[in-house]
């Protein structure tokens, strides 16, 4: 038999048909929806007089625009409230399961999928959100879609997709202390650029990847979209199976044995060919931080911003525009610069391990007075676990408070906006202009770098305080 990749195995087994000279009709096992990218899809469905084809395969939760305080009260912002109400009524009308705002399983869609065991190896998973790539950590083929495609899934449980090319990124070796999966992600994107993965689906492999916990793998796959790729996938292994076992929607009994036998076949065969391959050394990675306005503009925390002297044309215009927005000079150091905000959370770094790392770092220290910190758990279950593990108490003693779960300042659709011109060290995924609020200045980093900045009030190498 021909050697094939993990990606091919999952993709090919979901092709209902291939249109000659066109895309494939790809069957979708799990569809997540939220309040922002689904309403227009339901409007379209109703205009066509269609029912949802498989309401039981779609799961809904509001996460993007919701407040992260006083979630027990009606949402004050009228437009946000309207979207959340619309999600609720659309789910009721079409028989779709909704974990609403105060449900014990509510949270960011890419956090709750895995924690409920809804995300499983070998599945195709889509959501009207680019960070659907997160679920690839389980060996699922997961990618973000637009609203027309949300309507396609509601109408037919399929999407029309051209098959992406295959890229393998191998990271071998051991990470040094203070370096975690977010740093791997920012490092890779800084090496291959914010568009280096466009047209490809990535498989992450190598000893540094298999050494990562499931949550760390989720962070890496989450960020795979930030180099332009459709998604990232990691072959499932014992860690994956152990993580899923016993979760709410995990297969049980005989179904578990059957699923496990299949999951164990999900790996790239020796000799399988990728369209492109990159290999990196984990030992070469430092704690990372971004200095510009796309996630590819990242560097080691103690490095200098590039001088830009070798750039020309629109590259140079873009680089200069970016630094002007950030208020930085070409060639300067970021370390030691004063910051104003710290955001810990999002589908990238809002899981319990992220909160543990942050808490352990700030334990016994005090938040810097100049810093406003927003610590936002990724889900109700994460919030509860943090409380039970005593993280909340430690954080409070260090001058931090938890907010309630949601996407929050990652995209600032709610009130969690960084003010114009202010600097935020953020564990989220995008440093685009205005992403965290109009004219806000975002520097992406790991929860450890965020913790160091929160304590010193400056850009700080976390290793200096460890």
């Amino acid at each position: 038999m021909e050697a094939t990749t993990l990606f091919d195995k999952v993709w090919d087994s979901h092709v209902v048909k291939k249109i000659v000279g066109g895309p494939s009709v790809l069957y979708i096992d799990r569809h997540f929806i939220h309040e922002v990218t689904s309403p227009v899809a339901f409007v379209g469905l109703e205009k066509r007089g269609l029912k949802v084809f498989h309401p039981e395969l779609t799961i809904a939760t509001p996460d993007h625009n919701i407040p992260t305080i006083e979630q027990n009260l009606p949402i004050r912002d009228e437009l946000s409230r309207n979207q959340v109400n619309k999600l609720t009524s659309n789910c009721e009308k079409h028989g779709i399961t909704l974990y609403g705002l105060n449900h014990k399983w509510a949270g960011i869609v890419h956090v709750i999928g895995p924690e409920l065991g809804l995300t499983q190896p070998g599945m195709t998973i889509v959501c009207g959100d680019s960070h659907t790539s997160t679920h690839g950590a389980f060996g699922a083929l997961a990618f973000g879609i637009g609203t027309s495609e949300v309507e396609m899934v509601l109408a037919s449980q399929c999407v029309l997709q051209p098959k992406p090319k295959k890229l393998r990124i191998t990271v071998n070796g051991k990470l040094r202390p203070g370096v975690i999966s977010k740093d791997i992600a920012l490092y890779i994107i800084s090496q291959i650029s914010a568009s280096g993965g466009t047209g490809y689906f990535i498989e992450f492999a190598g000893s540094a990847i298999t050494a990562l916990s499931m949550e760390a793998r989720m962070t890496l796959c989450n960020m795979s979209i930030e180099c332009g790729s459709r998604g990232g996938i990691i072959a499932p292994d014992q860690k994956t199976f152990d993580y899923i076992k016993g979760r709410e929607f995990a297969p049980q009994g005989e179904a578990w044995d059957k699923a496990l036998a299949y999951w164990k076949t999900l790996k790239t065969d020796d000799g399988a060919v990728f369209d492109l391959e990159y290999t990196f050394d984990a030992n070469a990675i430092d704690p990372m931080i971004t200095y510009g306005t796309n996630p590819g503009m990242g560097m080691s925390i103690n490095a200098n911003i590039p001088t830009g002297e070798d750039m020309k044309g629109s590259d140079k215009i873009t680089f200069e525009k970016s630094l002007a927005y950030m208020g930085f000079k070409a060639g300067e150091k970021l370390e030691g610069k004063t910051i104003d905000y710290v955001f810990v959370g999002s589908c990238t770094n809002g899981r319990i391990e992220d909160l543990r790392l942050f808490t352990e770092f700030v334990k016994g220290k005090q938040k810097a007075e100049n810093v406003t910190a927003w610590i936002v758990p990724g889900s109700k279950q994460v919030e509860k676990q943090a409380e039970e593990e005593g993280l909340t108490a430690i954080l409070n003693a260090a001058g931090f408070q938890f907010r309630q779960p949601g996407c929050s300042a990652c995209l600032a659709m709610n009130d969690d906006k960084v003010p114009a011109g202010k600097y935020a060290v953020s564990t989220s995924n995008r440093n685009f202009e205005g992403r965290q609020g109009p004219s806000a200045r975002t520097m992406l980093a790991s929860p450890l770098v965020a913790a160091a900045a929160a304590i010193t009030g400056k850009i700080t190498d976390p290793r200096d305080l460890m």
Partner: protein
Amino acid sequence: MSIDKFITLTSPAVPLPIENVDTDQIIPARFLKAVERKGFGDNLFRDWRYDKNNQPVKDFVLNQSTYTGNILVAGKNFGSGSSREHAAWAIYDAGFKVVVSSFFADIFKGNALNNGLLPVQVSEAFLEKIFAVVEEDPTARFNVDLTSQEFTILKTGETSSFEINPYKKECLLNGYDDIDYLVACRDEIRSFELSRN
């Protein structure tokens, strides 16, 4: 239902020589709170087009009457970031039928095609030529012919061919819609489901 047909277009172009234009710039998240698809064009490039007092930024290209037309020409890696289809809606709603760049982000490209907005990918060198022609003469016209898959700088006669998936080309030429296609496949989809168990 259907999308608007696209066959051919002759128009001046609006230049945006910036790379990595992400969908947060095309339409910022705070304007995504509608539950219907209308009015997104008003907020296209909102934070580049208007200052913090909601006054038009004079230098921004959409605020300059010199530049008109239904073709938006932008730097490489256009449409990166968030999957929000609102970005394609906003561009289309603002009157653009074609976006030209040397490189498009995947999700944006799919969203554009699903809404009758044609992404035309040309080489970086050809893109620079387009920018140069528009800079010299903002009224210079360009022709986009989907049937022959050619983009022509009418002023110089230079032509670049562009790629499009043959299926998507048929959809645009005829105004077909993917959702109608998939609904028509429901029986095949049911057979597929049975075959998996």
